[in-house]
């Protein structure tokens, strides 16, 4: 231990694991990068993620990179509460001072966490928005869930967030279904920030958007992460996104973490063969 002051973690994840199917302790050894699969040939169970450990401090963005099926989205969804983890210990400092494993909470308590503590931005805006509701209404949702009851104040906050995410205010009362993909994503981000969450999870936030649109959204996210000093986890298969948004990064393959490094180090000096392959492919 040195005397270098390192900020204390806001998110602590230990031994996070998720499997589908029947559990057989030996199946852990039969799956993973050395076997080239997450599927256990004996039980036909899938070890979607196993043994994942990491910390994230305030103001830090941790990347999780990997191809489809790597388990990166599974990890995010387990922390978000969209998927029930099979095992693990996840603690969030803003919730009960980090003394409670949020994976043990019942669904109602997990939902409460999603109102004030932890927000998610999904790849598909339709997953994080009600398409038949206006942009302002989508922001009113988390606000009213947090107890906001003043219509004027709700409108003001919605305007503030839409302005910050560069959504034209004259579209505040348009239903989100009528927005383009990039605009929908901005509204999703505005909504995610409504209650000033200290933790933000982003799952492929710009995948599926046109390149020019994606770069604008990415830039917005980057600015917001700097401004708001949230603890963020960014899941992406795209190294450009990881490079722009994160300082540290995990590489996942077949459900396991194969490398954990500073982002610039991963991009310039990857160690694990799979990381080298991914980085080389990204560079071409």
């Amino acid at each position: 231990m040195t005397s270098i002051h390192v900020p204390s973690p806001i998110i602590q994840v230990r031994n996070l694991g998720k499997y589908y199917g029947n559990f057989d302790p030996a199946m852990i050894e039969r799956t993973g990068p050395e076997h080239g699969t997450a599927r256990d040939h004996v039980t036909a169970s899938i070890v979607a993620a196993w043994g994942v450990n990491f910390d994230v401090a305030a103001g830090e963005a941790l990347g999780i990179v990997g191809e489809s099926g790597s388990g990166k989205s599974t990890v995010l969804r387990c922390i978000a509460g969209d998927v029930a983890a099979s095992t693990g210990d996840v603690r969030l400092t803003p919730f009960e001072d980090g003394n409670v494993n949020i994976l043990d909470l019942d669904p109602s308590a997990r939902r409460q966490l999603r109102i004030n503590t932890l927000s998610v931005v999904y790849q598909d805006p339709a997953e994080g928005l009600a398409l038949g509701v206006t942009a302002g209404g989508n922001i009113a949702d988390p606000l009213t869930a947090a107890g906001w009851r003043n219509f004027g104040a709700i409108r003001d906050r919605a305007r503030e967030l839409l302005a910050r995410t560069e959504v034209p205010l004259d579209r505040m009362d348009d239903i989100v279904r009528n927005f383009s993909g990039g605009m929908r994503q901005r509204v999703q981000i505005a909504r995610a920030l409504a209650n000033k969450p200290p933790i933000l999870l982003l799952d492929e936030p710009t995948t599926g958007l046109d390149a020019s649109v994606a770069s604008g959204v990415l830039d917005l996210i980057r600015q917001l992460l700097e401004e708001l000093q949230v603890a963020a986890i960014v899941v992406s298969h795209d190294f450009g996104v990881i490079e722009m948004l994160t300082e540290r990064c995990l590489v996942m393959q077949h459900g396991r973490v194969v490398e954990d490094a500073l982002t610039d180090q991963l991009l310039e000096d990857p160690h694990h063969p799979y990381s080298q392959k991914l980085v080389a492919a990204a560079r071409t």
Binding site: S108, T134, T144, R149, F151
Partner: protein, 293 residues
């Protein structure tokens, strides 16, 4: 309420069954049925605003015509009760008359049009203008007991929303309403928060009557026959119409309108059929009394 004991012999033929029903039971329903409804009502009173499921029986009244309210009345009625039945404020509406007759014929109790003579008041669409007190039970006929029906169709999700008091989608729909229309436009069935816990549908009484529910002296029971639910607002319970702090809850009004018959301007008025701009009191009994005093 008094409990009547059922006859000892069980019917074995259809004729006996019909005869059993119309002459030997008190208040149309057999004792087991009434007991089940009362249990549901007790639960409802213990959990203000919570929709309690009950086994809604076949009634001589078709579904959608007050079968739920009727079952509640029949479960509550005792030999000493006096019943008033109104439909849109009017004792003489066809449905009100039929329902009242069903109750009195199967029980032999008194009927009345005067609130202060009644103990049970069954109503569709209005709360009587007269003040009611601890001696009254108001029974409302409800078509759709679920206040969130317009927002969510999945019954499991609805159950979850109520159990977790997760009403944010209701708030969003109020927000959208205000944004789209400038005001919150719900007229009948305005959603209210009961005892700061459950949101209820106050169908189908008009907004005008909603403030009467708040901290009322009387018990209000809601019966939905087709949907098979009962719920209750006990006396002295908080009932708050859902609205934003800065958007005041408004009741219906028409500028300068007064009742053509009694001249009142502070009762709930309805337009006389066929005559524009010609108003009269919805509560006919109340109106008549104004004229006679």
């Amino acid at each position: 309420m008094t409990l009547e004991t059922a006859p000892q012999t069980s019917p074995t033929t259809i004729a006996q069954l019909v005869g059993h029903r119309t002459t030997e039971t008190f208040a149309l329903l057999d004792e087991e049925s009434k007991r089940e409804i009362r249990r549901a009502l007790l639960q409802a009173v213990c959990i203000p605003g919570y929709q309690v499921p009950f086994g809604s029986r076949e009634m001589p009244v078709a579904r959608g015509w007050g079968s739920g309210g009727l079952q509640v009345t029949l479960a509550c009625v005792g030999a000493d009760d006096a019943v008033k039945v109104i439909d849109q404020g009017d004792d003489e509406g066809v449905n009100a008359v039929n329902l009242r007759r069903l109750v009195t014929m199967s029980t032999g109790i008194d009927e009345t049009t005067e609130v202060d003579e009644a103990t049970l008041i069954q109503s569709r669409h209005r709360i009587p203008e007269d003040d009611m007190n601890e001696n009254h039970i108001l029974i409302l006929q409800v078509p759709v007991p679920e206040p969130l029906r317009g927002i969510e169709r999945d019954i499991r999700e609805l159950a979850r929303m109520h159990s977790e008091a997760d009403y944010s989608r209701m708030w969003v729909s109020l927000y959208e309403d205000k944004v789209r229309n400038g005001v919150i436009t719900q007229s009948t069935g305005y959603p209210c928060l009961v005892a700061s816990r459950y949101i209820v549908a106050t169908t189908p009484i008009p907004r005008w009557d909603i403030p009467r529910l708040h901290q009322s002296k009387f018990l209000t029971l809601f019966g939905a026959g087709r949907e098979k639910r009962v719920y209750a607002i006990p006396p002295y319970t908080d009932v708050e119409p859902l609205t934003f702090e800065d958007v005041p809850f408004e009741v219906e009004s028409a500028d300068g309108a007064t009742c053509r018959l009694c001249g009142s301007s502070d009762s709930f008025l309805v337009e006389m059929p066929g005559k524009q701009e010609s108003w009269s009191c919805s509560d006919t009994a109340w109106c008549r009394r104004q004229r006679n005093t």
